[in-house]
Amino acid sequence: MAEVGRLTATPAVRRTSARSKQTRALLIGLAFASPWIVGLCVFLVYPIAASLYYSFTDYSVLESPRWIGLRNYADLFTQDDLFITSIVNTGVFAGMLIPIGTVFAIALALLLNLKIRFMALHRTIFYLPVLVPTVALALVWQWVLNPTYGVVNDLLALIGIQGPGWYANPTWAKPSYVIMSLWTVGNAVIIYLAGLQDVPKDLYDAASVDGANALRKLVNVTLPMLTPVILFNVIIGLIGALQVFSEAYIITGGTGNPANSAMFYVLLLYRNAFVYFKMGYASAMAWVLFIMVLIVTLLLVRSSRQWVYYSGEDRR
């Protein structure tokens, strides 16, 4: 199509050489992209390099960084019990949230995709929790799951169950955070909804012709077509879950109590950096997290070849 434009242009006017045209195109392209290029350098590339450097130093901000080699990393793995605890806590949290959250979100999306009346209202109701600011979210759920006066334990008592201590109980603290996160699953639901609507209708018709019932259609048509979206949501969700911070900080006042059951990885990192001023040590923690996230993501993508099905669309 661009060729047509060039053909109808008067050749006499356009004498610029191909070389200078290319340079011009490069300069213009860079000019438009310059805010981001500068941003990448200043707010991303430099900090990544700097944090790697800091991780090999003893840095308390008040004095200059002092090189100590791999000692931060060694201390993390051998001296710091809280470090191991935080990894376990975060792993358990993510390990609970991602599978349950994925199933829950897909189930909701399937429900909300039916052609039933009042669907817009239903969808809105499930999306509303996403809008609640994190602080309000944490406070409301702390109250909802209050062991003595909260709604949940009250309702449980109605059916004769003695509700647990939720956030105040070391065993129940992490499940409490999981439940709170499940409430805000709306974003994922919307993405799954869009994915569901992208499934070509004739696949379902073909399945009907072959005699498939609703369950078979779900398992053999819907879910396979949905796998790219599932992969996306799982990766994004996992990266987010591994960095859980704000809710835990607000509810525990930054302490990770009770008994460090809510001492998540980034919460510990925050404490080391901004409470104990051990910036070098905290930077080492950040890089360990980075590497763990990279490994997990790579594993997920590698595994995706087994279970993700990309329909033959041209993806550019």
Binding site: M1, A2, G5, T8, A25, I28, G29, L30, A31, A33, P35, W36, I37, G39, L40, F43, L44, Y46, P47, I48, A50, S51, Y54, V61, L111, L112, I116, R117, F118, H122, I125, F126, L128, L131, V132, P133, T134, V135, A136, L139, V140, W143, V144, T148, Y149, V151, D154, I190, I191, L242, Q243, I250, Y265, A273, F274, S283, A286, L289, V293, T297
Partner: protein, 294 residues
Amino acid sequence: MAALTQERALTTVGPRPRGLWRGVLRPVLVQIVLVCAGITFLMPFLWMLSTSLKDDQHIFVYPPQWIPAPMMFSNYPAALQYIPYGTYFLNTLQIALFATVGTVISCSLVAYSLARLHWPGRNVLFILTLATMMLPFAVTLIPLFIVFKTLGWINTFRPLIVPAYFGSAFFIFLLRQFFLTIPVELSDAARIDGANELGIFLRIMVPLIKPALATVALLQFLGSYRDFLGPLIYLTDNTKYTLSIGLTIYSSQHSTEWSMLMAASVVMTTPIIILFFFTQRTFVQGITLGGVKG
């Protein structure tokens, strides 16, 4: 044999006869399930509202009562006076608005470059942009703090506003996808007519992309409004706090005054909900484009 009769059924003129299950029972069952699930989902909201209108002696009551009696509407003004709510709200608004403007401007420029301008290295930059979306924020947290400290920007709004003017990976990606849907002929025709790139961008591209810009603006605004970690580490003066930090401080000082806390939470959440109801479609389309077409 079965396939043939099925085919005949599919090509029959008129609506297929719907049995009792599909026509009546299933929709009703689905409605019941949705309503029950919906009520469960709404329950925290209702509990928040209910608590916010109770007076102290009726909160710590077992079994809890849902409808407050008496209705303490006075809790709201009281909660807003305990902490400088007006100041915090204005701070939050200021940060959110400036950041939103910066995001829209910078991300649209960059997205245009990645979508409709052709220059060597463009695709590399795009892949890099995608890669940065997966970077854990914890990695850059500390050096960024040091950078801003060196610049003397701690305890100002600048760390929360200025980075927005330098682009943001997710929004750049989103807008790039949108720009790609504009026909190439439009910009080509303008080029032939002698327009320069900036002119094409401002007068042709941007107007065509308005819904996407609205989405970006909305999502950025929401993100700034709700931001917790940023204000936590960059703002130390309590006159500069945002709503997020203000409410957190308040909750740590008045940890058992649940009616006040719930009232404050309601006031903090309501503007967003109202905003959402006016801009529903923009919200949803933004998230879907990021997640599915990606």
